[in-house]
């Protein structure tokens, strides 16, 4: 093939979009807040550190909210991701790399060098005493940051997507579940001398909830513990298939899950970075299902081990459990999953690693009423839908063939439908018959797309 260089569309790149002067003030507040955070971390005087920390949280949150309002709340409602691929922060430029390194670094410190965060953790003691009746630890610090990120950037998402009520409902839902079910409720349980339990996470995502140890401890703890085990089992094995049958996996991934919540709020600016290539899809297959298999195997082995039937099993399950916890639980879901948002997109973990997503995905693909319908023959192959898909689905490949989108990966965020300038896509629950039927307006060809 003779290949002239494509006219370089980068040639006449305009200067990257300038930040409007008004937005500089709230951004400066965010920067000051980050500085105050450093000060708090460095200050051994608890009272001063606490003041710095509160000032930091107020400045960062207030600044981010102010900026979000100026950038998204004021302009006309609608989808207009102008300059997304031109800004250094959202197109893997210098700002994105700096953010990625900082986020990743934070995870490394949090998991392996929590001592460095000692001053910050101590600064949260009064709050922890109030909420949980005990001293703060690094996980409370993390939970506080996490929840604030979901709430503040959830505010940004509410402004940004205010023209579509689906997104308002979805965003409000993840904010609610993060604040209530993943932050306040576990704290309250601790205050009541109960085991810390996240009602919004289940096995296999929260893999150890159905390990014999954890179940044993909970059952030992009396009524509430029994309820927790019951809840975990019911949600994992009954509610998940039933809800997924009716609504697709979105009921969990885009409405309830904390990882999804962070991706949809803090990660929203990076959703377009997810790789849509066939190579990426192959990696997805290579990682996602083996991880699901691994956790299934591990859980089964642990139960066999606990039953005492095979005494020698402990030799295998111990290291296997550690490996899983380290490689998947820490490195993948935290360090890579969130740390690399600005470079790999917001759902790296959900897409390549999460065993819950794999489980829900299998149900969604083979046993669900959910699909994304494409509207007749109206696709103009513009690629806006694929670009918006955080799960790396090349939505356009389906739309331009008039085929409904039934993919295990789809978390039902609905952004492809919002981004489509021709109103071609719609998230729907309907009868399972004809769920895969293509539009009669396009003769879907049989050539490979994956």
């Amino acid at each position: 093939m003779q290949d002239h260089p494509t006219p370089s569309l980068a040639l006449a790149q305009p200067p990257p979009a300038a930040t409007p002067p008004g937005e500089k003030l709230p951004l400066a507040a965010v920067a000051l807040g980050l500085l105050a955070l450093l000060v708090a971390a460095a200050d051994a005087d608890h009272n001063r550190a606490r003041l710095s920390l509160y000032a930091a949280l107020a400045l960062v949150s207030g600044g981010a909210l102010g900026w979000a309002w100026l950038a998204f709340g004021r302009p006309a409602a609608g989808w207009h991701p102008h300059d997304l691929w031109r800004r250094a922060s959202t197109s893997r430029g210098a700002v994105a790399w700096a953010t990625g390194v900082a986020l990743t670094g934070f995870y490394v410190v949090l998991y392996w060098f929590p001592g460095l965060l000692e001053n910050l953790i101590r600064a949260l003691d009064p709050f922890s005493a109030w909420l949980r009746h005990r001293a703060a630890d690094q996980w409370l610090l993390y939970g506080t940051f996490y929840t604030l990120a979901v709430l503040v950037l959830g505010g940004r998402a509410l402004w940004k997507y205010r023209s579509t009520r689906y997104h308002l409902a979805r965003t409000a839902s993840v904010m609610f579940f993060q604040l209530g079910f993943s932050f306040l409720l576990p704290g309250l349980l601790l205050a009541l001398q109960q085991p810390e339990y996240y009602f919004s996470y289940f096995w296999p995502l929260k893999y150890d909830y159905l390990f014999p140890d954890a179940v044993g401890k909970l059952l030992h703890g009396g009524g509430l513990g029994v309820f927790m085990v019951f809840w975990g089992v019911v949600l994992s094995f009954l509610a998940t298939p039933v809800l997924t049958y009716f609504f697709g996996k979105r009921w969990y991934c885009a409405w309830v899950c904390g990882c999804g919540g962070l991706a949809e709020t803090a990660g929203d600016a990076y959703r377009h970075l997810s790789d849509k290539s066939r190579t990426a899809w192959r990696w997805e297959m290579r990682l996602l299902y083996p991880i699901l298999g691994l956790i299934l195997l591990l859980t089964a082995l642990l139960w066999v081990g606990a039953s005492g039937a095979v005494p020698a099993l402990g030799v295998v399950t111990g290291p296997l459990g550690q490996l899983y916890g380290f490689a998947i639980g820490s490195i993948f879901s935290g360090v890579v999953g969130v740390g690399f948002y600005p470079l790999l997109g917001s759902r790296v973990w959900c897409r390549f690693g999460c065993p819950m997503a794999a489980y829900l995905g299998l149900l969604q693909k083979h046993f669900s009423r959910f699909r994304i319908s494409t509207n007749g023959g109206q696709c103009i192959s513009c690629g806006n839908c694929s670009n918006a898909c955080e799960m790396g689905i090349d939505v356009k490949q389906y739309a331009q063939r008039g085929a409904p989108i039934v993919r295990a990966a789809c978390v039902g965020c609905g952004l492809c439908a919002t981004a489509c300038p021709r109103g071609v896509l719609n998230l729907e629950n309907g009868p399972r018959e004809g769920r895969l039927a293509a539009s009669t307006f396009i003769h879907a060809d049989s050539l490979r797309i994956l």
């Binding site: 093939m1 494509t6 307006f441």
Partner: protein, 439 residues
């Protein structure tokens, strides 16, 4: 068989893909002068807006072509020797074909205004136009867009996104008056002005004025104003690209003349898409269709014929869609811009000025004939069914929710629409309504 296609736009590519499916053994060659790979022309604006990168607007990944054995030639065809069945290329050796498809698309149609050749004055059709626009609009404060069609609104939105003040000159008395009824025009005019675009109706360009460096500086309009303009976009329509067809001696008029099978005057040579003109269009249909969707359909149809399954081109019910800044537009069936004898028209508008639904129906049997919507999404196959079955308006208004394609949780306007219908057409009974959705 060697099937050669000139033009790698949607028409040529649809033909190539369809032919590959029908004839797994055929050799298929696609020649394209503009770009090495097929890209989505309607997506050009998103490149300028920074929503997408060039790779994102390619409908197929680069591996697709080789894997499906579709040979791509990034080259220009200069001539066709219909007797010898060869195509002469600008850079490569000439190509022998068994069947040839011309899918050469359109070129901008630009009147010869004085000053037309100044730098910063251009049409907007392809990648080179996008490049010159990206280059020439840097640091520009004032721009003028000329022409009130769909490319005009895209240019206005593109410029506006860079904070450039846009004056938009439209010759007609109301916006897109050749296509839209008055209410739709009015809603769009208000919406466009809401976006701070200076929309000037009944105004034409008279002259373009340049500076000493040969760059445009201002325009003079037929209303006598002189507007500052460091960049001027001319969106006054497109016309079929006939260069190759004329060089090959094919019969042409406005476009390359084709019969029902999309065959040109030369045997074995076909034409489809923007460049083709139907000799005998079906009643109520246009001879030259310049749409993405029709290009795709024509490409598919002609490939069937070429691959030995003779298939006449039948477009089916007309449909189209577009987006005006944030306001989506869809249309199915026929909705003439002017009131038409024998056709009644029901029109509902939301008080907020952002939603409109118009349904036309036949005065005699009350069968629906067409629909326009702004700010509402409608399900194409439901409308196709209603139009084909000549469903009475009473049934359609009652069952409107079945055609609702708006996202979940969107406000549903069907009750308000039914009330408006009962007011406007009190004598027509509306059946019991049904709920939205597939359930």
């Amino acid at each position: 068989m060697h099937f050669v296609i000139i033009g790698n736009g949607i028409t040529g590519v649809s033909a190539a893909i369809t032919a590959r499916r029908l004839l797994p053994e055929a050799r298929i060659t696609l020649v394209g002068a503009e770009s090495a790979h097929h890209y989505s022309r309607p997506a050009l604006m998103y490149l300028y807006l920074g929503h997408l990168r060039y790779a994102d607007v390619k409908p197929h990944a680069d591996w697709f072509w080789a894997e499906n054995r579709l040979e791509l030639l990034h080259d220009e065809a200069l001539g066709v020797h219909t007797a010898a069945r060869t195509v002469q290329l600008a850079a490569g050796p000439s190509l022998a074909y068994d069947r040839l498809l011309l899918a050469t698309g359109s070129v901008p149609r630009i009147p010869g205004w004085p000053g037309r050749q100044l730098r910063g004055v251009q049409g907007f059709y392809g990648l080179p136009d996008l490049e010159s626009m990206s280059r020439d609009t840097q640091g520009v404060a004032h721009a003028v867009v000329v022409g009130g069609g769909l490319i005009g609104v895209e240019l206005a939105e593109m410029l506006h996104s860079r904070g450039i003040h846009v004056t938009w000159l439209v010759r007609e008395g109301r916006y897109w008056q050749s296509v839209l009824p008055a209410e739709e025009s009015a809603m769009l005019e208000a919406h466009i002005r809401d976006q701070h675009i200076d929309l000037q109706l009944t105004t034409e360009l008279r002259e373009l004025r340049g500076n000493a460096q040969g760059r445009v500086q201002a325009v003079e309009t037929t209303t006598g104003q002189v507007l500052p303009a460091e960049w001027v976009g001319l969106a006054t329509g497109v016309q079929p690209n006939l260069v190759l067809a004329q060089a090959a001696g094919l019969a042409t008029d406005r476009g390359i003349l084709v019969d029902e099978m999309l065959e040109t005057s030369a045997p074995g040579v076909y034409a489809a898409g923007d460049c083709a003109q139907h000799r005998r269009p079906a009643p109520g249909e246009v001879a030259v269709e310049q749409l993405w969707y029709t290009g795709r359909m024509q490409g598919e149809t002609v490939a069937h014929t070429i691959c030995g399954e003779p298939t006449p081109y039948r477009r089916g019910e007309w449909f189209n869609s577009a987006k005006f800044f944030h306001l989506e537009y869809q249309t199915y069936g026929r909705v003439p811009a002017q009131p038409t004898a024998g056709i009644a028209s029901f029109c509902w508008q939301h008080p907020n000025g952002k939603h409109l639904l118009r349904i036309n129906f036949c005065g005699a049997d009350q069968a629906v004939t067409g629909v326009n919507t702004l700010g509402l999404r409608q399900r194409q196959d439901v409308w196709e069914h209603w139009l084909r079955e000549k469903t009475p308006i009473g049934t359609v208004v009652a069952q409107l929710a079945a055609a609702n394609f708006d996202p979940e949780f969107a406000r549903q306007h069907e009750p308000a629409i039914r009330r408006a219908f009962a007011q406007q057409f009190p004598s027509i009974a509306v059946e019991k309504p049904r709920r939205k959705g597939l359930w």
